[in-house]
């Protein structure tokens, strides 16, 4: 195996162009290596590239760890970060690695979907900005082409006034989401809801958003209708972690609860 440890992005992009597998915190990649599912012949470690760890306002470098998002991120993103794995995992794991894996259960994704973030991608031939809904293409699939690296997450300049993250799982720490969700609510009532683990990619529920955005101060029955529309709008499956029915139910309950927090 060949390993590169570049200090600059250009060197890393050159290695990626030659077919090297990107390695950030290793918390997804090494599990696959340890269980014999992947055996890269060439890797490029991204830890030493200062440019990828830069964080300028709404542009967050892909090498930023969940530990830093937990400390410095916008509210709902920080709340999501706090639930990723354990301290050991958050110290190593990066937002770029989360996107590289593109697990349907990735806890970082609902925030990006709820605020309409974009993913910045680079290769030796240039940079492109991909909106979140074009980035996630299926379970563990994304829009990255061979030789491309994720360089940053780009949030809108102005975030909605309120935003809240929540996750349902079988215990408090170290748990993969059964459902995770972000609800945002802006001053004039405009609301978004994005969920993870209830579809092949993170999803928004436009019907629920439109209905509740028209309610300046939602009544109890409006909140109930919002929850129902969320449950109806998700596309969960039954797997080893939960059932379709439970996920559908939990999605509505969780989204309503987060909306209530935004309204409080």
């Amino acid at each position: 195996m060949q390993a590169f440890h570049p200090k600059t992005l250009d060197e890393a992009l050159a290695a990626a162009a030659d077919g090297a597998t990107p390695l950030a915190g290793g918390t997804d990649l090494m599990v696959e290596v340890n269980f014999g599912k992947r055996r890269p012949e060439m890797v490029v470690g991204l830890r030493r590239i200062a440019e990828l760890r830069e964080w300028e306002r709404s542009r967050i470098g892909s090498g930023v760890t969940w530990r830093r998002v937990e400390r410095d991120g916008p509210r709902a993103y920080a709340q999501a970060a706090r639930t990723v794995g354990s301290p050991q995992i958050r110290n190593a794991a990066t937002i770029g690695g989360n996107l590289g894996t593109a697990s349907p259960a990735g806890d970082g994704h609902p925030f990006l979907a709820a605020v309409d973030a974009s993913i910045e991608i680079a290769s030796t031939s240039g940079r492109r900005l991909v909106p979140w809904y074009e980035f996630f293409t299926g379970p563990k699939q994304n829009a990255l082409q061979p030789g491309e690296l994720i360089t940053a997450v780009v949030l809108p300049e102005r975030l909605p006034e309120r935003h809240e993250f929540g996750k349902v799982g079988v215990r408090n720490a170290m748990v993969i989401s059964t459902v995770c969700c972000v609800v945002t609510r802006d001053t004039e009532g405009s609301t978004t809801v994005a969920l993870g683990s209830v579809g092949p990619t993170p999803i928004r529920v436009p019907a629920a958003e439109e209905m509740i955005s028209a309610e300046p101060s939602p009544s109890d029955s409006a909140l109930g209708e919002f929850a129902r529309l969320v449950s109806e709008g998700v596309r969960p499956i039954t797997d080893h972690r939960s059932t379709e029915e439970y996920r559908r139910h939990a999605a509505g309950v969780l989204a309503r609860r987060l909306l209530e927090r935004c309204l409080a």
């Binding site: 195996m1 390993a3 390695l23 290793g26 599990v31 340890n34 890797v43 190593a92």
Partner: protein, 152 residues
């Protein structure tokens, strides 16, 4: 391939084959058996080490990517005898089979380095990535609480 890094304050060279983990290299090549190997998937924390100033699971660090890094294992936490965390764990009966102990000592030492008087909740959160099969959590948390705001 030969990987060079600083281990417990000394420069070392290790022979590394393929995408092996740092944990395997510490144990099998460098003969440091303090870091334990259990789940190999970041769940149990028994392999915890400090890598460039952060506690991480050494089973998830690719050894080749430790090149030029600073690594501290449980063996490097005290130069002579036991450190105050190890002493407190012994005093409180926080060690049963001892398999989880090195990882807990590493995580706790790092917690106290950044936060000398952690609350009970902060202690629990700092140990959320360390599993003890012998269910010694009560004694472990009491041991660390006894140090909070104390001589650390």
């Amino acid at each position: 391939m030969i990987v060079e890094f600083r281990l417990n304050g000394e420069d070392v060279n290790a022979r590394v084959v393929g995408p092996t983990s740092l944990l395997d290299v510490l144990r099998d090549e460098l003969g440091l058996f303090g870091s334990k190997s259990a789940c190999a998937q970041g769940e149990c924390g028994s392999c915890s080490v400090v890598l460039d100033g952060e506690v991480v699971c050494s089973c998830l660090v690719m050894a080749a990517d430790a090149e030029g890094s600073e690594v501290t294992t449980v063996e490097g936490l005290s130069t002579d005898g036991l450190n105050p965390i190890q002493e407190a764990m012994l005093r409180s009966g926080a060690v049963q089979c001892g398999f989880c102990t090195p990882g807990i000592v590493v995580a706790a030492t790092e917690l106290f380095r950044v936060n000398p008087s952690p609350t009970r909740i902060e202690i629990k959160e700092a140990l959320a990535g360390n599993i003890c099969r012998c269910t010694g959590y009560g004694a472990i948390i009491r041991a660390l609480e006894s140090l909070s705001g104390g001589e650390q």
